[in-house]
Amino acid sequence: MTELLEDVVTEPSELDRTFVFEDEGHTLGSLLTYVLESFPETDFCAYSIRHPSENKIYLRLKVKNGHTVEDVFKRGFQELNQILNHVKKTFNKAISTYEETKATE
């Protein structure tokens, strides 16, 4: 039992951290893990909702030697923002071209 506990409680370090997001759910959790997982610097990334009545998610991020959690985490958010902006831009462009072709018809 003591061995198990020692295994679960990890010391906070530069390489491994758990972030808690209040008032968030699978919407943010799955998006963020998807982006963070795609980085080569990431060793492990997953999120969980510990209890359904607890309205928060726990996201654990572990990075490879030579990197810091904070940097990779920040880059994850930048990347996610870029993805969202890209989707928005592409969508707006597609809508305007659609409307143009409709108008000329």
């Binding site: 906070p12 923002n81 928005k88």
Partner: protein, 256 residues
């Protein structure tokens, strides 16, 4: 926007007050929620920035019964078209009844017998679907992957016609080469992946059905208040806001 409060002055119909109020709450409104503010205090007086007011006064008389063509008449239907919008403040200059009224005229609300009447006032507010599903602006939203149909072998003649009938209209086209019909894939997007073609032996190992893994077709059906393309953009805005808020709060937190 949805009706949140109902003041019932008179209701002698068979439908109970609370059930009538619930039915009214579920009626979809045409008003664009972006043009309104969230009500800060639930009990404050409704004003032109956060509320819409409607009224309905209807009474069933013996005359109404006779006016209806069939004499077998048993009840007088009350429809959404009987609801009237009452502009608040300067709403009269900004909106018309068409902008903020009820989406469909023929939503059945109640049925009346002669002598029965309903008189009520309704107050619509802005809300989020987490609080109540009536505030939902999306009816259904789903995605599917782009179907990919490959013909591995030439299919001609009667088989080509049979192949065409295995798919929805417009998926498989037929072209005539030297008097022989040859099947080709016209528009695989119209396919609904029924796999009907696998029922026939003659198509064995001649057709490959698959999905394009990174091509998603996302469909949004609006309830009617907002255009689906606007709903998509609003959803993106909410997501961006979520991401920005979360990144701020996460970096400020102490380590655990």
């Amino acid at each position: 926007m949805a009706i949140e409060k109902v003041h019932i002055y008179q209701n002698t119909s068979y439908i109970l007050d609370e059930i009538l109020a619930h039915r009214l709450g579920l009626i979809p409104l045409k008003a664009d929620p972006r043009q309104f503010k969230m009500k800060e205090d639930e009990n404050s007086e409704p004003n032109e920035h956060d509320s819409l007011v409607y009224e309905m006064k209807i009474k069933c008389t013996k005359k109404d019964l006779d006016a209806l063509a069939h004499k077998q008449f048993i009840s007088f239907p009350v429809y959404a078209k009987h609801i009237k919008w009452l502009p608040l403040g300067n709403q009269k200059d900004i909106f018309t009844e068409k902008d903020v009224g009820i989406i469909s005229d023929d939503i059945l609300i109640a049925k009346l017998r002669p002598g029965q009447e309903i008189e009520l006032k309704m107050f619509a507010v802005k809300g989020i679907p987490k609080d109540h599903a009536k505030f939902q602006s999306v009816c259904t939203a789903w995605y599917r992957m782009m179907p990919n149909i490959k013909l591995l072998d030439e299919i001609k003649g009667n088989d080509a016609v049979l192949l065409q009938s295995c798919f929805p209209k417009g998926v498989i086209g037929l072209k005539s080469v030297k008097g022989v019909l040859i099947a080709f894939v016209e528009d695989s997007r119209k396919d609904n992946s029924s796999r009907n073609v696998f029922r026939y032996k003659q198509f064995d190992k001649k057709i490959l059905l698959s999905k394009i893994q990174d091509h998603f077709i996302f469909t949004i059906e609006s309830v009617g208040a907002m255009d689906p393309s606007l709903i998509f953009l609003e959803a993106l805005n909410i997501l961006t806001r979520k991401v920005n808020n979360a990144s701020e709060s996460a970096l400020n937190q102490t380590e655990i």
